[in-house]
């Protein structure tokens, strides 16, 4: 029972006791008298009964109000003060307690607030000094973090048991982005504390690790091993390096991962040769085929026509035969430009081109990017050299000195339009320019614009517009799809600290044992989640329309290990619910259904304890989908609503808004699934130490004690 209600119930029974005591005393006294004395007593008292009853009633009411006043003015405020003081000390040093109760209690609260003010100032001073002392170390950490984050290879560090301690952005994009693309794939999520064996084919990995262990036992110095692994559509080259500590114990492994599929550009020349060959044979084949089909479909033709068709078949057959003898390998000498194609934004490339032209020719180019934000896969040096060459020729031969580059996007392609005023370009001149070798200092074979364009699958043409006297050179270039970044509905929801990709405290921890009950709450891995739904009645047809979740490992929330997905509920969405979560039906039309999303979510939360605020509500929705999706969540579940009631039983409200205010947790993205999940996660982290003070240390204790709270009665 709510403790405040207990106090009030206590007051009620106290006043009832006083009333019963008074009446019992009188009754006992009367009962002691002899029958004659009883009659006398009644005879004397009865006429004056109002003089007894009225004061007694006044006395009773007075005592009742007095005790209620004591409870309201002292007991309840002091009980609340006790909780709020602990909150102030442990979880929210900037908070202040609202004065309440009797002026004496209020005065005490003012003194406490004054003390808190002083303490906070002192703490801030100490923190500033600590920050100052840490700044050099922070700088080093930042450089290391940038280094790890920005290198092109994926990097994963794990301990001996395969628990991931560190991974960089590239590793995340290779595994996690791919995992979310397919619902039936067995690819798992990458994350701190998760197992490397879920990401990479187990038998291959085990064999590699065993090989490295064996070498270490034999005191061999080479603790590196390579293998390739297919992960869905990706072909990965993985180098495994044994990690030794100062005592030369093998206590972990570094995985350096290269995406061979995305980096196959060194095969481009061979690709081009193959395409050249295919293109060259297509025309003779087409001619033969069309001629034969024409003869079949139109058998009645003149003799002259028939002869023409037969000659065509013969000539084209000869041409086809001659192709088999030709050498198509001359283009191999340009292998060097096909390697190291860079992914670059069009905006960045054109700005760098603008600078290059200015530096090398003194000419200015006006850029008009039209808000385009596409990316291309090019060898920036060669493409820029090519355009620089054209611009320089236009300047020297046509006296063009005013240039403008306009960028437009046409579907999967970018159109880079170079304009200049003045004389137009002759077609013959243009043809010469695109085949002549570009001036270079390198010893590599000279290369022309047309060859550069071919390697980039680009087209170029020009147009002289006589009416506007403008001349255009148009470069048509394929764009690329950039790697997806994690979906975040409101970017401000992401925590301000640098994204957390590592936790070396996990070096010595074993992968979590399935039996979590006796593990300390502070050591468990959690998935904190929230759902947005079409309504509040899961059993009456309401459906989930959004799931948001974030992981907590080793006492820290991992802002880069999040799950967020809108879901098509295949039903209408009531206006009343739209007003709360702001998700409109048109946003859900193209979204996957719960049958697709729930298995992915189950993978994400695997081997963690689920946490939600008013978890009964969310879990009910998940449980009702077990039959349709085949997904049953066997995870243990903690409810921060109940945990808050355990930590602060005297507080009136345990709504998420109220608790967030109490703990000074900033709410971002309220009533979005991910936003609420992150607030709940921060709340859990603040509650764990408070629960520990009350003797609730392990998961088992938390679950069992939660069942005793008032909120455990909530069912949906």
């Amino acid at each position: 029972m709510h403790r405040r209600k207990k106090l009030l119930l206590l007051w009620f029974f106290f006043t009832l006791l006083i009333a019963i005591s008074g009446v019992s005393t009188l009754f006992l006294f009367f009962h002691q008298l002899s029958p004659d004395n009883q009659k006398t007593f009644i005879h004397i008292v009865y006429p004056f009964r109002f003089y007894f009853i009225l004061p007694s009633l006044i006395f009773f009411i007075g005592i009742s109000y007095a005790t209620k006043w004591v409870v309201d003015s002292f007991l309840i405020p002091l009980a609340q003060l006790d909780e709020e003081l602990r909150l102030l000390i442990d979880a929210n040093p900037s908070g202040r307690i609202a004065p309440k109760g009797h002026p004496l209690v209020q005065s005490l609260i003012h003194s406490i607030n004054y003390g808190a003010e002083k303490t906070e100032t002192l703490l801030n001073q100490v923190n500033q000094q600590i920050e100052f002392a840490k700044s050099d170390l922070e700088k080093e950490n930042s450089v290391l973090a940038i280094l790890i984050e920005e290198i092109k290879e994926g990097v994963i560090v794990c301990n001996r048991e395969g628990s991931i301690l560190l991974y960089n952005k590239k590793a995340h994009s290779l595994f996690s982005d791919h995992a979310q693309e397919t619902s039936t794939s067995k690819s798992a999520y990458i994350g701190i504390g998760r197992s490397i064996f879920q990401l990479i084919e187990s038998s291959l990995l085990e064999d590699t690790i065993e090989e490295l262990n064996e070498r270490h036992r034999n005191k061999e110095s080479n603790l590196t091993q390579h293998f390739t692994n297919r992960s869905g559509n990706l072909l990965l080259d993985i180098e495994v390096i044994g990690l030794l500590d100062r005592k030369e114990t093998l206590n972990g492994f570094i995985f350096v991962i290269q995406d061979l599929t995305a980096n196959m550009s060194y095969l481009k020349p061979f690709e081009n040769i193959l395409h050249d060959f295919k293109e060259k044979i297509r025309s003779p084949l087409a001619n033969i085929r069309s001629t034969i089909e024409t003869l079949i479909d139109y058998p009645v033709v003149s003799q002259e026509q028939r002869t023409t068709f037969l000659d065509i078949i013969q000539q084209q057959s000869v041409e086809l035969s001659s192709l088999l003898d030709s050498s198509l390998f001359s283009s191999l000498e340009h292998c060097h430009i096909a390697s190291f194609l860079e992914q670059i934004s069009l905006s960045d490339w054109l700005h760098s081109l603008q600078r290059k032209v200015k530096t090398e020719t003194g000419l200015s180019i006006e850029l008009s990017l039209n808000g385009c934000d596409g990316w291309v896969n090019i060898k920036r040096y060669f493409m820029s050299q090519a355009l620089l060459h054209i611009i320089a020729r236009l300047n020297t031969e046509l006296a063009a000195n005013s240039f403008r580059i306009e960028l437009r996007e046409k579907g999967k392609f970018a159109l880079v339009e170079l304009n200049w005023n003045g004389k137009g370009l002759e077609p013959e001149s243009f043809q010469e320019w695109i085949v002549e070798p570009l001036p270079r200092d390198s010893e590599d074979a000279p290369i022309s614009l047309s060859e550069i364009l071919r390697y980039h699958d680009a087209e170029i043409w020009f147009q002289n517009d006589l009416s506007t006297k403008k001349n255009y050179l148009r470069l048509f270039l394929p764009k690329i799809e950039m790697e997806k970044t994690p979906d975040i509905v409101d970017k401000s929801v992401v925590l301000k600290e640098r994204p957390l990709f590592y936790d070396f405290n996990l070096f010595d921890k074993a992968i979590q044992h399935p039996e979590l009950n006796d593990i300390r709450l502070s050591e468990i891995s959690y998935t904190v989640f929230d759902t947005e739904t079409t309504g509040l009645n899961p059993s009456a047809g309401d459906e989930i329309i959004s799931i948001g979740a974030v992981r907590i490992v080793n006492g820290r929330m991992l802002p880069n290990e999040m799950f967020e997905q809108l879901i098509n509920p295949k039903r209408t969405i009531p206006q009343a619910s739209i007003k709360i979560h702001g998700i409109h039906p048109e946003q859900l039309i193209d979204q996957p259904t719960i049958e697709t999303v729930l298995p992915q979510f189950a993978q994400f939360v695997d081997k963690t304890v689920l946490v939600a605020h008013n978890a009964a509500f969310d879990m009910k929705f998940l449980q009702l989908k077990e039959r349709d999706t085949g997904v049953a969540f066997k995870n243990s579940v903690l409810d921060t609503l109940m945990l808050s009631a355990l930590a602060h039983p005297y507080q009136d409200s345990h709504s998420l808004d109220e608790i967030a205010h109490r703990f000074n947790i900033e709410i971002r993205g309220r009533h979005t699934a991910l936003g609420d999940a992150m607030v709940t996660g921060e709340l859990l982290l603040k509650l764990i130490p408070l629960l520990a003070e009350k003797g609730i240390v392990t998961l088992k204790q938390a679950i069992q004690t939660s069942k005793k709270t008032y909120y455990a009665r909530l069912h949906y």
């Binding site: 293109e279 297509r282 025309s283 084949l285 068709f309 077609p427 048509f476």
Partner: protein, 127 residues
């Protein structure tokens, strides 16, 4: 009135079959050997459909396609690009620049005739 088909192709061998096919199927046929001629014929004869090779000398079929499709007067002119360049990216380029369909060599003559008829809104012979 017969519909007009402009064939733009610099390979004289394939022109023989294409001209024969289009004529047999009841179209008036115009021939152009390169991109410049194609633009001239487009302007003067206003063909209903242009059957155009991509790899033309000087002005490519892609360039001609882009020039035509940026002018409103050719909005209803159908363009079929025909080419030995058969990679996905080549087809994407053609369609991105305004072609109605893209046919890769070698092609089925029946299929080509079917596409021409379909684009010109004519009844397709089921045989």
């Amino acid at each position: 009135m017969k519909k007009k088909v402009l064939i733009v192709e610099d390979d004289p061998v394939i022109v023989v079959s294409l001209e024969f096919l289009m004529t047999q199927n009841g179209f008036d046929v115009l021939l152009a050997k390169n991109g410049e001629e194609a633009l001239e014929f487009a302007n003067s004869a206003n063909p209903d459909l242009i059957l155009m090779d991509v790899m033309l000398p000087n002005k490519s079929g892609l360039e001609v396609c882009q020039e035509l499709k940026t002018q409103p007067k050719y909005a209803n002119t159908k363009i079929i690009l025909v080419s030995a360049k058969g990679r996905g990216i080549d087809i994407d380029k053609g369609l991105a620049l305004g072609a109605d369909t893209y046919v890769t060599k070698p092609f089925s003559t029946r299929e080509l005739v079917r596409k021409v008829r379909e684009l010109l809104g004519e009844q397709i012979d089921a045989s």
